[in-house]
């Protein structure tokens, strides 16, 4: 088994554990490279099927390429797609800095969608190497009744045993690719031939490393016009992946506050 095989085996194990232990699951599809890999892994775990709905909590501000991608592959991959809207920015905590406040709409949309569908588990495609508070996440991460993350009291999780018991009304975030890196995602995308949104490839000397809302996500300088070139560039670069995400950089604690309130 090479490294990608090991990553894949662990992710499949996590998917199957969650499916066995939780009652009502959905997979959060942000349309980006990570959640596309996640869907691919779910299909591997369940032999071509995705036996739970795939939910896009839509801020309405994604790039047109992202909507086109969603509509095409929801059909081709046979997904049970749920699209849920986000409330307007006025409904969001006004003490947050502007970009973080804009991003927090997604948290609110997520809360509404949870209340509407009553999911007890959500698969989310976050990775430890993206950001320092994500590096402290559990694979099965319990959220309180309000969707809050209690970072001071995370349950122990060891070997491959996860905590899946919840009070009624609370939910679990399940993180099947927590242990992957950005390079792993690209190497696997290439090996498996997983389709990608062309915004990840360089055009006029810039490309998107991470895709979010069009108004608060910026392309980074790059010459990488193929996945091979992306991987080579990642080996050389020391720019962090989320450098182009405005909401991470407004204040020392802005991303932590977003996540504690229920952001991914």
């Amino acid at each position: 088994m090479d490294r990608l095989d090991e990553l894949e085996a662990q992710s499949i194990f996590i998917f199957r554990e969650a499916f066995a232990r939780l009652k009502k699951l959905a997979l959060l599809w942000s349309l980006g490279k990570d959640s596309n890999v996640m869907i691919w892994l779910a299909r591997k775990a369940f032999f071509g099927h995705v036996p739970f709905p795939v939910m896009h909590v839509d801020t309405g501000k994604k790039f047109p390429e992202m909507y086109a991608f969603r509509d095409r592959y929801a059909g081709e991959w046979g997904l049970d797609l749920i699209v849920e809207p986000c409330p307007p920015v006025e409904a969001v905590d006004p003490t947050l800095p502007p970009a973080a406040r804009s991003a927090a709409r997604k948290t609110e949309g997520l809360k509404l969608a949870l209340a509407k569908h009553g999911f007890d588990g959500l698969f989310a495609g976050i990775r430890r190497d993206e950001e320092a508070t994500r590096a402290k996440e559990r694979v099965f991460s319990p959220r309180g009744l309000e969707g809050h993350w209690d970072v001071r009291d995370q349950p122990p999780e060891f070997w491959d045993h996860f905590n899946a018991r919840l009070p009624r009304g609370a939910h679990l975030r399940v993180h099947p690719i927590l242990h992957w890196t950005e390079t792993d995602i690209w190497a696997y995308t290439r090996r498996e031939g997983i389709p990608i949104i062309p915004l990840y490839l360089a055009k006029n000397g810039r490309r998107y490393r991470s895709l979010g809302d069009a108004d608060i996500t910026f392309p980074v300088p790059s010459q990488a016009r193929s996945i091979n070139e992306i991987i080579a560039e990642l080996h050389a670069t020391r720019t962090p992946e989320r450098a182009g995400r405005a909401m991470d950089h407004e204040a020392e604690d802005s991303f932590e506050r977003l996540r504690v309130a229920g952001y991914l």
Binding site: M1, D2, R3, L4, D5, E6, E8, A9, Q10, I12, F13, R16, E17, F19, A20, R43, K44, A45, F46, F47, G48, H49, R128, D129, A132, T133, A135, K136, R138, V151, R152, Q154, P155, P156, E157, F158, W159, D160, H161, N163, R165, P167, R168, T181, T183, W186, A187, N228, I231, A232, H235, A236, R238, T239, P240, E252, D253, E256
Partner: protein, 693 residues
């Protein structure tokens, strides 16, 4: 491995090569404030692994808090961690050397966050233990070291930190080296290196500075480079814990991850604990390949199909037929305990082994000790019959159902247990031995009853008193609140059951509603079942007899054989009701029933809350003091759906062939198994094991 690593000198740009580079996970452990997070910050910085702008960010954060530069802020990203200057939760960060990729796992040293240390350390291949040379070996230094042993980590190096505080004095280092080496050897660990360092100033981390020129051993980075990644246990016998059985596209696929060994198409396998056998027909993959694989090995997540339809479920363990996994209903283990209430003999908890999960009761505790205690030689300083928080010890557990496991020494992957208590993982450790005797229910009950604490009985008595004065709705809510585990309500859709269900649904209580469908119920009962589901908008979980056992029973005694002898009747009750009940209640902490004391002489002595030793839970009879009349009045007033047979003189309704109407004035249960004499006419659901029925 080393030959391979040495062959590569530069950071490889080719991702193909990257995939083949070894990846080693290393946890940094030790007492609070001994410098773990600082060392990681330093390592990342000196190997050029920090992202652009990170150093400036950390400087700014340190300055804003009025501190000189703090490396630990790199990993201590939470605001409360930075405010308090300690690590609270474990974190992971990547870095690379010319020969390897590393995941560094930072662990908190503070005693309050030991569960987070375990979380991080359990994922490591190797460990670096830090000791502050000025403070010396402390409680958490020792506890962490012992946990490494119990977590199965055998590659350990030690860094003696803050050498700058003792002016890099070699004698101080040698003393420390001797002490920590001796303590580790006591715990079954041999340090690969002991290194003098200053994490803050960088000595001995990447650079071998002149301040420690007397040191002959490796630097930290050199020591890390010598650690090996853990390999899947390919050489051990096949162990495949079953995660689930899927039915997709007409294939019945048994899914799981191979813990050890390998499996091939055509292999004869045996399933533990049932012992059933089958032959592997295929190994399934997606996307399907031109040639499906014929073989899969340790570490892989697989799906297999078998040549026959065995009853296999999550929790079973697949092995090769010529190398079975042992199974049993009790086991001994060496464990650590994280929960704040001590683990005592008699504690009931959930035991997990691989994918299996069952209730268990601690029947004995031996050699409880605090690994952090410098003077463990005096065992009488500790209560021997319990394991305190962050302590360790040896336990014996009686299990509600048989599980398959190996001794840790034979197979680490299937020789570990995890203990769930109060809805969370609370401890874990290594299986020392499985106790194989296939204890009968009555036998195992006797074994554990002796040790069962007064605590359980006292809790039942206290609840009994607390709930007695309340009305039905309050009783149910109170019982739900008092227990933190699952509660099962078994209903047969009788009058009393319907009233309880009505209250559960009205209050939206988190209770698992279950019925035992024996296959011989009255048509009216099925109608009532359906009507009830519609009225309350729920799906009731139905539990059925085990197919193979039922087929065998009918083959032996015939379809109505139960009329012939009392033994035949009891055999039928056992298979159709008693065994399914065991499954219905497995894992539950509480059981709600509709028993009333005035139903029969046998039931006159029931309580509101009592300990059920057979099912290892608290049994709750919230209607025990109701009269039939009160129940009827309530049902009528609230339009609760009732079984129409009640109108026709059937008071207690069970299986159709075994229930008849009773005459006015006859006892309520006179219509059950009416052809048998005597008053002991119970099916076995509601009596203690071993008692006559």
């Amino acid at each position: 491995m080393n030959a391979h690593a040495a062959a590569e000198v530069a950071i490889a740009p080719n991702p193909q090569v990257t995939a083949a580079r070894p990846l080693v996970r290393i946890v940094i452990v030790g007492h609070v404030d001994h410098g773990k997070s600082t060392l990681i910050g330093r390592l990342l910085s000196e190997t050029g692994s920090l992202p652009d702008g990170k150093l400036d960010e950390l400087k700014a954060v340190s300055a804003r808090r009025g501190m000189s530069f703090e490396w630990s802020f790199l990993l201590d990203a939470l605001q409360t961690e930075r405010d308090q200057g300690i690590t609270i939760d474990t974190s992971q960060i990547r870095f690379r050397t010319p020969s390897r990729d590393f995941v560094l796992i930072d662990a908190p040293g503070h005693v309050e966050f030991q569960r987070n240390m375990v979380t991080g350390a359990s994922q490591a291949d190797a460990a670096l233990l830090l000791v502050d040379v000025a403070e010396g070996v402390r409680t958490q230094t020792l506890r962490h070291a012992y946990l490494l042993h119990l977590l199965g980590i055998r590659q350990v190096a030690v860094a003696v930190n803050k050498m700058d505080c003792v002016a890099y004095n070699e004698d101080r280092f040698r003393k420390m080296e001797a002490e920590i080496t001796a303590r580790l050897i006591d715990f079954g660990l041999t340090p690969a290196a002991v290194i003098p360092i200053s994490a803050r100033h960088g000595d001995g981390v990447v650079e071998r500075t002149s301040a420690i020129d007397w040191h002959r051993g490796p630097t930290v980075i050199e020591a890390l480079d010598r650690f090996e990644p853990a390999r899947p246990a390919a050489a051990l016998p096949l162990r495949l814990p079953v995660q689930a059985v899927y039915r997709f596209d007409d294939r019945r696929i048994v899914a799981g991850r191979i813990q050890s060994g390998s499996i091939a198409v055509g292999d004869e396998i045996a399933v533990a604990p049932s012992g059933k056998r089958a032959v592997v027909r295929s190994i399934e993959t997606w996307p399907s390949m031109d040639a499906e694989p014929l073989h899969a090995g340790a570490g892989q997540s697989v799906g297999i199909t078998l040549d026959r339809e065995l009853f296999i479920a999550r929790g079973d363990l697949i092995a090769r037929a010529d190398n079975l996994t042992p199974s049993g209903r009790s086991l001994r283990a060496q464990i650590f305990w994280l929960h704040d209430s001590p683990l005592a003999a008699g504690t009931s908890l959930t035991v997990r082994v691989g994918t299996a999960e069952t209730r268990g009761v601690i029947t004995a505790i031996a050699n409880a000790f605090d690994p952090g205690d410098h003077a463990v030689a005096k065992p009488d300083t500790l209560a021997q019959n319990q394991i305190g928080q962050n302590h360790a010890g040896e336990i014996e557990i009686a299990l509600a159902s048989a599980v398959a496991a190996d001794a840790y020494a034979d197979n680490p992957g299937t020789g570990r247990i995890v203990l769930d208590f109060g809805g969370r993982i609370a401890g874990g450790g290594l299986v020392l031995a499985l106790i194989r005797e296939s204890a009968t229910v009555a036998g195992s009950d006797k074994a554990s009853a002796a040790e069962r604490p007064q605590a359980r009985a006292a809790r039942a008595a206290a609840l009994d008193r607390a709930l007695a004065g309340l009305n039905l709705a309050e009783r149910l809510a109170g019982f739900r609140k008092a227990l933190d585990g699952a509660i099962v309500f078994t209903t047969s859709f009788g009058l009393e059951d319907q009233i309880i269900l009505h209250h559960i649904c009205e209050a939206g209580l988190d209770v698992d509603v279950v019925t035992l469908d024996t296959g011989r119920l009255f048509p009216e009962t099925y109608t009532t079942w359906e009507e009830t589901e519609q009225r309350y908008g729920l799906r009731i979980r139905a539990v059925y007899p085990e197919q193979a056992a039922l087929e065998e029973l009918i083959a032996g005694q015939g379809i109505n054989g139960f009329y012939r002898t009392r033994e035949a009747r009891i055999a039928c009750c056992d298979i159709r009701k008693v065994e399914p009940l065991g499954r219905a209640l497995s894992g539950a902490q509480g059981w709600i029933t509709g028993l009333r004391a005035d139903q029969s002489a046998d039931r006159a002595n029931i309580n509101l809350v009592s300990v059920d030793r057979v099912h290892d839970l608290l049994k709750f009879n919230p209607l025990f003091d109701w009269s039939r009349q009160a129940a009827q009045d309530f049902a009528a007033a609230h339009a609760v759906p009732v079984n129409p047979l009640h109108q026709k003189g059937f008071l207690s309704i069970g299986c159709a062939p075994c229930t008849r109407a009773v005459r006015p004035g006859e006892p309520e249960r006179a219509g059950r198994w009416w052809w048998e004499d005597g008053s002991k006419r119970e099916c076995g659901l509601h009596i203690a094991a071993g008692a006559a029925r």
